[in-house]
Symmetry: C2
Subunit: 202 residues, 2 copies
DNA sequence: GTCTATATGGCGATAGAC
DNA sequence: GTCTATCGCCATATAGAC
């Protein structure tokens, strides 16, 4: 007979994910997480002992998710232009399904940088690995002299900002949810074009 | 003899700005704000009654600051290419001096979108005014067929993301504070080039 | 207007029964 | 493993003297 450890633990993590993503560490309430999971508050502490432990688990998962995705797409064996297109398109697609993750990471990064950086260093897939992999790949191609760091940041900025600033931007443009989704969808094509413009052999 | 209302009120606002920018609404403590202002906790409530009132004042100020800056630069009477260059360069310069503001706005926007949107609507300088002004201006020029909304978002993304994601990026690239500042400085030139590439008559 | 002292409530965490 | 009840603390907010 299987005990209920895994079931309950996963329910808790799922609930914690929802609440932490929406409210951040300081804003989240253990009671709210318990309600979301359909269990008692004491049980949260039985499984994770402290709010901080629970948060760490959620943050690490979010972090792994977003950078594993980046890594996989960069590592595929296809030509540069195609790869950039895939990278950007799949990355944006990922955000459409996981729109809370980027804001969550940026928020906690700004409010507790030291702690968050320690997560970077211990992570199995680190941002710097992703960046190094990208650098290697870029040097293999004959391209316009390009600062790869700048390229890296530009791609992330163009993909992530529209997701994170969505409440503001949607309001400015007076877009419905559907219209904004379509707008993002269109960027899967326009961002690769914009990026290729900056690195293509003249 | 002037009473001390304005002096004290300004001291409080200045202190609250510092603490809220660093910790966000939930993370900030009234005691910490009082200490920062060199006054007593009870006095905060005498002037602003609730933490929320105090926060609103700070948020509105941050909001006004960032969009007034955008508006001013867009509204200057110079040719397009020059204007874009100024806009981006001055906007980035503004962030170098006010690096907490973008992260602060994004954080609170993600954690309480409804409330934040109400600030947008009541603000004297609204983001949509800035956007409309930019749109008018773009149509006066003969340019590559361009979605002005997309252009607007791209500029904001490229300027703001490196500031907001600084803790992560600085860690990835293993940059010192000075090196990262230089890196941002360089973007005052490269971002306008990149943007002009996308809209210049072919 | 500014302070000290205190009320009030909520939150993370634990004790202990089942 | 899961629950109810409760502790102890800390944060916002108020009362009231000066």
């Amino acid at each position: 007979m299987a005990n209920k450890t895994h079931n309950t633990e996963e329910k808790i993590l799922e609930a914690a994910k929802t609440v932490f993503h929406r409210k951040g560490f300081e804003g989240a309430r253990m009671q709210e997480i318990a309600d979301e999971a359909g269990i008692n508050k004491a049980l949260l502490h039985y499984y994770f002992r402290t709010k901080e432990n629970l948060f760490d688990a959620v943050f690490k998962a979010a972090f792994r998710e977003i950078f594993t995705k980046l890594f996989m797409t960069i590592d595929a064996d296809v030509p540069l232009e195609k790869k950039l297109k895939n990278l950007i398109s799949e990355y944006i697609g990922f955000f459409q399904k996981n729109s809370y993750i980027p804001g969550f990471i940026l928020t906690e990064m700004n409010q507790n940088p030291e702690k968050i950086i320690s997560v970077f260093k211990s992570a199995p897939v680190s941002p710097s690995m992703v960046f190094e992999r990208m650098k290697e790949f870029m040097y293999d191609e004959k391209l316009e002299k390009t600062d790869v760091r700048e390229l890296f940041i530009n791609i992330l900025a163009l993909c992530i900002f529209p997701v994170v600033a969505r409440p503001m931007l949607q309001n400015i443009f007076d877009f419905s949810d559907e219209q904004y989704d379509q707008f993002i969808e269109k960027r899967k094509k326009t961002i690769p074009q914009l990026i290729m413009n900056t690195i293509r052999k003249k």
